[in-house]
Amino acid sequence: MNQSINEIQEEIIDEFSMLGGDMESTVFYIMELGNHLPPLDEKYKIPENLVKGCQSKVWLTTSFKEGKIFFLADSNTEVTKGLISMLIRIWNGRTPKEILNSDLYFIEKIGMQRVVGSQRSNGFASMIKQMKLYALGYQQKEKV
């Protein structure tokens, strides 16, 4: 991995800045990003992998290879899927420490702070929490 977490965040902020803060274009662009998220195999869409929000469902599964975490995820809503694709772009292949120490400031910069503001409205906020919990879990495991 060549780019740092913050370098990717800056790259994302840059992409969104081209939309000039127009909310409609922002939402459509996020949905567009979601279309590029690799599809999650149905076998992973099981209750154990469900990160439930009030309005949308998110499935999340991980693997741990050579000290790095790899995420696979999907959602039943396109906006959430787009948001997830950015998280994966930033966090995939990182060490638990990198993930736990990172500050996801891009969310506010692209005008999407409200989707993390309320745990109830969508699975995205719960998803961030869940991804960090996985990182914490793998970190503990490594120490043992």
Partner: protein, 416 residues
């Protein structure tokens, strides 16, 4: 068509109503706000907002026990609202009006007092399949405690109660029937008068959840003959955090107090406490004085409207929205009862309601998406949630046109 429009303008001047609501006059995401989330909460007219700050600026004091001038003023204003509510819903006595925190507070009060005292093992409480969680969970809690059972009136595909089934559910075991006057998800207006009459014939008491009805339908509790009615101020142009429970005096008298504290007592010793009279018996602690006071201004606002003209206006918005949405390929209306208020739920076959809500918000349109606190209803309909547009008196046909065009545009864009 011209005559219809002309008549309507004479009937109802929506623009002068809109002027009274400051929150409506703003841009959201670069577009003029279209506020179609009125079933969740309505916007407040300037006089309600002003009454709140006036109270805190001039009259703020704790009520009922102060002898100083401000306390007297605050008490008088607080009790003025009680009288205004009494006459607004045509309750026989002002003491039958209990101030609560909202509809949920009112239903819990009845469940925890009337329910706790009068429900026995084997008794039954009847609800309907379209109830809001706040008219389900309080009854579930007390039924579980008392060993009583919940019975549910089924609904038709259009979202209407099946009265034939309701009649079958009624028996000597039925102690309470608790029903929404208007469904918050479907907009169905339930035939509460018949429901109440049938319940009374079976010897049961009836609570009407009027949270959604209060803003649209003129209410007369005497004529309906309901035993209890609960509603919230904020859903009828009033402030948040205040609600009303109406109850027939003999029932309120028979009920034990709900919460203990100041205000609700007559005399306290460590051996025994005697309770205050109605309505104070149920108003423990310092109430939400300012919001109750400002509620009178909300009632005055509603009373200042030509209610019939307002009803016709809202009905026209409803019809226009329903037929506009029905004409869009891939949209399915949820809730097509014959008698409806201004609530339109719909689903799209390819766009999740969360995405739809986000895309509409980007265009300045506020709707509600999700299960609307009616999960049992969603399960019954086999859907996860809906998009819900709901109207108030200040919404316009132009807003509906813009909304329909926007939904159409979103669907077309996602088709590509």
């Amino acid at each position: 068509m011209t005559t219809l429009t002309e008549n309507k303008q004479i009937l109802f001047d929506v623009q002068s109503v809109r002027k009274k609501f400051p929150a409506l006059h703003q841009k959201v995401n670069g577009h003029p706000l279209v506020y179609f989330d009125n079933a969740a909460t309505s916007q407040k007219p300037k006089e309600v907002i002003d009454a709140l700050s006036h109270f805190y600026e001039k009259d703020n004091a704790n009520i009922h026990r102060g002898i100083h001038t401000l306390a007297e003023r605050a008490t008088a204003e607080f009790e003025e609202t009680r009288k205004a509510v009494q006459s607004f819903i045509h309750a026989p006595e002002a003491e039958e009006i209990i101030f609560t925190s909202g509809t949920t507070g009112g239903i819990n009060l009845v469940a925890q007092t009337y329910g706790r005292k009068f429900l026995k093992k084997g008794d039954e409480v009847i609800l309907s399949a379209m109830e809001h969680h706040s008219n389900i969970v309080p009854w579930q809690m007390i039924c579980e405690e008392k060993g009583a059972k919940l019975k549910v009136i089924p609904i038709t595909e259009a979202g209407e109660l099946i009265l034939k089934e309701y009649k079958k559910l009624l028996s000597a075991k039925t102690k309470i029937v608790s029903i929404a006057y208007v469904s918050n998800t479907l907009g169905t207006i339930n035939p509460v008068k018949d429901i109440i009459k049938l319940a009374h014939e079976a010897g049961a008491k009836v609570l009407i959840d009027a949270a959604q009805a209060i803003i649209h339908i003129p209410i007369n509790v005497k004529e309906l003959d309901c035993d209890f009615m609960a509603f919230s101020g904020h859903k009828m142009y009033g402030p948040n955090g205040m609600g009303v429970l109406y109850g027939k005096r003999e029932l309120l008298e028979a009920m034990p107090p709900y919460q203990g504290g100041g205000e609700m007592i007559k005399e306290v010793t460590f051996d025994k406490t005697t309770y205050n009279e109605l309505p104070y018996k149920f108003e423990a602690g310092t109430p939400n004085i300012a919001d109750v006071v400002a509620m009178k201004n909300a009632i005055d606002f509603v009373n200042s409207l030509d209610r019939n003209a307002a009803l016709i206006h809202e009905h026209q918005l409803l019809q226009k929205t329903m037929s506009g949405l029905a004409g869009i390929d891939g949209i399915r209306l949820i809730g097509t009862a014959k008698h409806k208020t201004g609530v339109v739920s719909f689903v799209s076959d390819r766009i999740h309601h969360f995405d739809m809500g986000m895309m509409l918000d980007a265009k300045g349109i506020a709707i509600r998406t999700g299960h609307h606190c009616t999960e049992p209803l969603m399960n019954l309909l086999g859907i996860e949630g809906t998009n819900r547009a709901s109207f108030a008196v200040y919404n316009t046909e132009e807003e509906v046109d813009y909304f329909i065009e926007t939904v159409k545009g979103i669907i077309q864009k996602r088709k590509k």
